[in-house]
């Protein structure tokens, strides 16, 4: 809404011509969640929601606006590329959601340290189970190497979740938890039985069950396998990277990983 109470955007053309549109559009298409902390982008989406929903539906995806205060783009067809979070990313994301719900996080203004995340994961999942989840292909492992791998995988997951807008890496060691994390809690959120909620969300395309996502997960598994000793090196670099650097990296990854399921408009993705 503008200051005089009239709608900010009268037509779709006004939305597309807005300065914020290209960046917001690209971010949404790359899986970014936009919440109230992204003040300018969030305000733009709230104002342009009525125009953008039918627009994105034509691309086979839904612009979702959750009551927790965040937007994201959900592909429902094959026109736009899609991916599923890996098991490691899901594990870290759910642990972060638990931390988001904890009153102790409130004391720190919604931020946690990497050590807290690791400690929380080990406490909830169990240290051995955590090592097994993060080292799925290795039957025998050296304890020290396995723990190092866990740390690296968690750091990598944090970096990816940050590019997707679930968290924000504010300092080298501190992570600000954002409201989009509540998406990880959707299946267990309602008053209905979790199985029913899960089935509904699967039907809506919000998520896939772990048994079904072997194909999509293979992508992330292959990434996991390819990570070697050099991972720690790249990790230390990635930890200090800014968000924009991370994004550009993830772009290049997705470019090489996924088949282009849809052809974006080379003029900036703005459909006419």
């Amino acid at each position: 809404m503008s200051s005089d109470g009239s709608p900010r955007f009268a037509r779709l053309e006004d939305v597309i011509l807005d300065e914020a549109y290209p960046e917001v559009d690209l971010a949404l298409r790359r899986g970014r969640h936009i919440d109230r902390d992204d003040v300018a982008w969030y305000t733009f989406l709230v104002d342009a929601e009525d125009h953008l929903e039918p627009l994105y539906r034509r691309f086979g995806c839904e612009l979702i606006h959750r009551s927790d205060g965040y937007f994201y783009l959900l592909p429902t067809g094959d026109a736009l590329g899609k991916r599923h979070l890996s098991s490691g990313e899901m594990l870290v994301g759910q642990a972060l959601t638990l931390l988001y719900l904890e009153p102790s996080t409130l004391e720190q203004g919604g931020t946690v340290t990497r050590e807290q995340v690791l400690g929380h994961l080990a406490g909830v999942v169990g240290a051995d189970a955590l090592v097994r989840v993060m080292n799925p292909k290795r039957r025998k492992y050296d304890e020290r190497v396995a723990q190092e791998t866990v740390r690296n995988k968690v750091a990598e997951a944090l970096r990816r979740l940050a590019t997707l807008g679930f968290v924000e890496i504010v300092e080298e060691d501190r992570i600000r938890l954002r409201s989009a994390l509540m998406r990880f809690a959707e299946p267990v959120r309602g008053t209905k039985a979790p199985e029913a909620a899960l089935a509904r969300l699967v039907a809506e395309g919000e998520l896939v069950l772990a048994e079904d996502d072997s194909a999509s997960d293979s992508e992330s598994e292959s990434e996991s396998e390819s990570e070697s000793e050099s991972e720690s090196e790249s990790e230390s670099e990635s930890e200090s990277e800014s968000e924009s650097e991370s994004e550009s990296e993830s772009e290049s990854e997705s470019e090489s990983e996924s088949e282009p399921e849809s052809v974006s408009d080379p003029e900036g993705g703005a459909p006419s």
């Binding site: 899609k82 638990l98 719900l101 896939v208 997705s254």
Partner: protein, 445 residues
């Protein structure tokens, strides 16, 4: 002041503090008694008395089998004196029982623990008002000051001491407020821990009251710092016009302090605003929507793998748009490295050799041919053509050449004749025995 030098000096002195709870309680008791009874120092008996009271208060925590109280109080006093918490102020040594007072260090520590320096609206108002009044007086003094003494007594000293102390007081209280904020954040988290849903009303009440206090503080800071800056600027201008650099410098120091105070206010306001929004959102989105913490329990179970099927979120992942880069024309290539064609060193060229001895002999021969028959005359002619520094050596060589080319007449007594530059030679009479030109050929043959 060089920080490295200060640190090195501090490290060399090796200061350290080792204060137990009993020590701190003892110091706090002394501090409180000094305040309540308006005492500036304590006798040894009073110290022992206070120590005894403190020990009786902490008796429950005291370990069994401890030594006698009198010995322990003496020990505690000695330790506190070593750590500069208590100072002996009577200067009588062992002549009589001592008088002791708390040091500035001890008072600072105890005030910290007693949270005496919390920034409240009232304390901030009193301090800023005092600053304003004080600066107004200083400005008046600056306008009236003419002599160096007037500037020193009316402007420089009050700015350095009174105004500096008042500004320090505000800054100290701001630190106290920061600590209070931390405590407040802990309190909200603790309230939710203790009573998840029931604490909502209390949390909101706390938030509202604290943000109200902070808003009022900031309004005072914004309004008063503006006036303070204005007064200080006037003082600085007067000092600059009068050419009193010390007064200008003292005013600048207070300006810096006031700037810091104002910056603190805006920074805390911003941080508080973020925290305020976050907590409100948390209360609304998390606590109110999940009064029984069912969500947390379910999620924990799911994460532990004891409930529900594992799932993965679906995300949009459009490939990035391929934008062709602009072709960059490479910069012009540098010329290849080549050997220089010209020889750097010039080659040697043949030049006619110059024999100085032959030249000398030619000159001698010439003089003889012109009819000179005395060594002095020949020498005079030849050395007239050479440089001054070579004349001594040339004189000897002329004598040698004359002896070879002519036939010097040997007499028993030879006269000494003066030459140029203070030289003197033995005079010879010379007979020419052969043609001067044919002489070298004859020698060669």
């Amino acid at each position: 002041m060089n920080p490295n030098r200060v640190l090195a000096s501090l490290a060399q002195r090796g200061p350290s503090l080792d204060l137990s709870t009993l020590d701190l309680c003892f110091l706090a008791a002394l501090h409180l008694r000094a305040e309540s009874a308006a005492m500036t120092s304590f006798s040894e008996e009073q110290l022992a008395d206070v120590f005894e009271q403190v020990e009786s208060v902490l008796a429950a925590a005291a370990e069994p089998g401890q030594p006698a109280k009198q010995r322990r109080s003496t020990h505690a006093i000695r330790r506190l004196r070593e750590q500069r918490m208590i100072a002996r102020v009577d200067g009588a040594g062992i002549v009589r029982a001592g008088e002791y007072a708390l040091t500035r260090l001890a008072n600072g520590i105890i005030e910290f623990f007693l949270e005496d320096d919390t920034l409240t609206r009232d304390s901030l108002t009193v301090l800023t008002r005092s600053l304003l009044v004080g600066l107004g007086e200083i400005l008046t003094a600056a306008k009236a000051a003419h002599t160096e003494e007037e500037w020193r007594m009316g402007v420089i000293s009050p700015l350095r001491v009174t105004m500096g102390d008042l500004a320090n007081g505000i800054e100290r209280r701001q630190c106290g407020f920061d600590l209070q904020q931390e405590e407040f954040q802990r309190e909200i988290a603790g309230l939710l821990h203790a009573d998840w849903f029931g604490a909502v009303a209390r949390c909101q009440e706390l938030l509202e009251s604290t943000s109200g206090t902070l808003n009022e503080l900031n309004q005072i800071l914004l309004r008063d710092t503006h006036q303070l800056q204005s007064l200080l600027q006037d003082i600085q201008e007067h000092a600059a016009e009068a050419g009193v650099a010390d007064a200008e410098g003292a005013a600048r120091t207070v300006v810096d302090q006031v700037d810091r105070i104002a910056a603190w206010g805006s920074a805390r306001q911003r941080a508080w605003s973020e925290y305020y929004q976050y907590v409100h959102r948390y209360l609304r989105d998390v606590v109110r929507l999940d009064p029984a913490r069912t969500l947390t329990h379910r999620l924990r179970e799911h994460l532990a793998g004891t409930a529900g099927k594992q799932f993965a979120l679906t995300l949009a992942s459009a490939p990035p748009i391929r934008l062709l880069r602009e072709v960059e024309i490479p910069p012009e290539e540098k010329p290849p490295v080549r050997r220089p064609r010209k020889e750097r060193e010039q080659g040697l060229a043949d030049a006619p050799a110059e024999n100085p001895q032959a030249i000398l002999e030619a000159r001698v021969r010439g003089a003889l041919a012109e009819g000179a028959r005395a060594l002095g005359v020949v020498t005079e002619r030849v050395i007239a053509e050479v440089a001054e520094e070579e004349r001594f050596v040339t004189t000897g060589r002329v004598a040698q050449a004359v002896a070879r080319l002519g036939d010097p007449e040997a007499t028993a007594e030879r006269a000494w004749v003066p030459m140029q530059d203070g030289l003197m030679i033995e005079e010879w009479t010379v007979r020419v025995v052969a043609e001067p030109e044919s002489q070298p050929e004859k020698e060669a043959s």
